[in-house]
């Protein structure tokens, strides 16, 4: 659906986006992750045709942004980081204007506007001036604007920034819902958000793609060893000794006491060896009951730090 081909953007000496390549399939929700100033917004601005790339090009649905910009723009709904709202218009006037510039058929305009206002729940503020709306509502109007004309591709730049927790959850579930019909690219620097919504994540740092995979795969690929976290009722020393004697355990470390009479332990196992059963039997034989045991994947935060620091070491 979207092909980003060797896109580079230079501002004088500064390289904001450096030979970025990726494709997004139809119906995919792609997360765009990176620290501030990594080039997320710049890449999105290039895909939507707001700015032009110094080198490379973008194709949407087979249309090239340089050769047929209008065809590309028709297929994209863009919600920039700061929603482009006219403060002196009411919500209804604004959406009406957006429908006009997106060349929506007059006959279907009214109906589709109603549908979108229902979807993002702004129907009850339709006659209020946009400048009097709260930040959360402005954000929703921004999203409504992107949805007008039901473009097959949605590009959302930090859609939940500045919202309260309840609104964030609402917007997230809305995006998930939209993902059934639209191809979505979403940028964020909030990691749990991306792992909650997106089927695939691209991590970008200093204008370059440093990792691209599903959130689960990224976590697995980078973790290397299997890690387990467990809580055992028993004295720390004996428990640790027992665990370290088990075959396949590389390391075991106490993580402190969170419940009286118990100890929390982090176990690192050799790659491809499942130590959960031997652990269970060894501890139960010694009558130290396991209160819980779960495997620990690297969180996206850790992955993020890892790939961005690796990148720093290379460059």
């Amino acid at each position: 659906m979207i092909q980003v081909i060797d896109v580079t953007k230079r501002y004088g000496q500064h390289v904001a986006v450096d030979h970025v390549n990726f494709t997004v399939e139809k119906g995919e929700i792609l997360g765009f992750l990176g620290p501030n100033g990594a080039g997320k917004t710049t890449t999105m601005n290039i895909i939507t045709g707001y700015i032009s790339a110094t080198e490379g090009t973008v194709k949407v649905d087979g249309f090239d942004i340089l050769e047929e910009p209008e065809e590309v723009k028709k297929r994209i709904g863009y919600m920039p980081e700061f929603p482009p709202l006219y403060m002196d218009m009411t919500v209804q006037e604004y959406l009406d204007f957006v429908s006009d510039i997106k060349k929506i058929d007059r006959a279907t305009k009214k109906k589709s506007m109603e549908k979108i206002m229902d979807l993002v729940k702004i129907g009850h503020v339709r006659n209020r001036l946009i400048k009097n709306l709260s930040k959360g509502y402005k954000q929703r109007v921004g999203l409504a604007q992107a949805l007008i004309g039901t473009p097959p591709v949605l590009i959302l730049d930090e859609p939940t920034v500045g919202l309260d927790p309840k609104q964030i959850i609402e917007i997230r579930s809305l995006i998930k819902e939209l993902g059934k019909e639209h191809t979505i690219i979403l940028s964020s620097h909030i990691l749990p958000e991306v792992s909650a919504i997106c089927g695939r994540v691209i991590i970008i740092n200093k204008g370059r793609i440093v990792a691209s995979d599903t959130p689960e795969n990224l976590s697995k690929r980078l973790s290397g060893t299997g890690r387990l976290s467990l809580r055992v009722a028993g004295p720390e020393k004996q428990v640790l000794k027992l665990i370290r004697e088990i075959e396949g355990v590389k390391n075991a470390e106490a993580q402190g006491v969170k419940e009286p009479g118990t100890v929390d332990i982090l176990v690192e196992a050799e790659k491809d060896i499942d130590v959960r059963r031997p652990l269970f039997y060894a501890l139960s034989r010694a009558e130290y009951p396991i209160l819980y045991m779960r495997s620990v994947d690297l969180t996206l935060e850790e992955i993020f730090l890892q790939v961005t620091t690796e990148e720093r070491e290379v460059s």
């Binding site: 601005n45 939507t48 723009k73 002196d88």
Partner: protein
Amino acid sequence: MLAVFKRELKAYFASPTGYIFMGFFLLISGIFFALSNLLTASPNYLSVLSSITFVFLIVVPILTMRLMSEESRQKTDQLLLTSPLSVTGIVLGKYFAAVMVFLLTLLITCLYPIILSFFGTIAVWEIVGGYIGFFLLGAAFISIGLFISSLTDNQVIAAVVTFGALLFIWILDWIIGGIPTDRVSGIVFACALVVGVAALVYFTTRNIFVSAVIAVIGFGIVAGIYFANKYFFDGFIVRTLEWFSLLSRYETFMMGILSLSPIVYYITFSAVFLFLTVRVIEKRRWS
């Protein structure tokens, strides 16, 4: 284009801008009408039209300062530029909205000659011609304001620079009177123009080779003209500056003459500035 036009027109009257423009314009023209027509019992309405042209210096910046600068400040240009509209369509929509506000104001002032006609005979066609000239002059000024508004995202700067540019055009005829007309200064000025163009090319493309070639070709043309026709450079500066003299073209309308060349001139002038505005917006996307 139509959508942008409608939105801009509404925005003028949803904010004080449109009312300030109209109010100020009508106040000044009303004062001049009362002083030079009513109180002196004179039917010469064209003199009012010609003496209120100075009002453009103040009201055109009010009308145009917001047009493009506010879009980039509020980031709403992101909406326009990522929609399937052409940049030309956006610029034209905005230009015609500003011209429309001006035209509406002008239509209200048509009351003045109608009032005059109750008390005597007035030269109807001369006044119609005068209005055409007045309208075209205002439209040309608006195109300058729109262009300047596209250069900055600060309304105040846009207004001040527009005022300065209009003031320059205002005193241009007076400046021309003091410019040397001899051959040497004409050649120096031509060479300075060539250097200026080459420098502009260098700063936009950062390509020293291309700008050097342009400079060489430019000097070649200057030399060629010099050997072909020495007299070309006599008064060259004056002739160049006269291209920008919007007001001297206006005088023919005020004499009651309606000729084609000033009309074409004003329309071309506006078109050039609209084209430059489109280029500025396009270029910002590339840099």
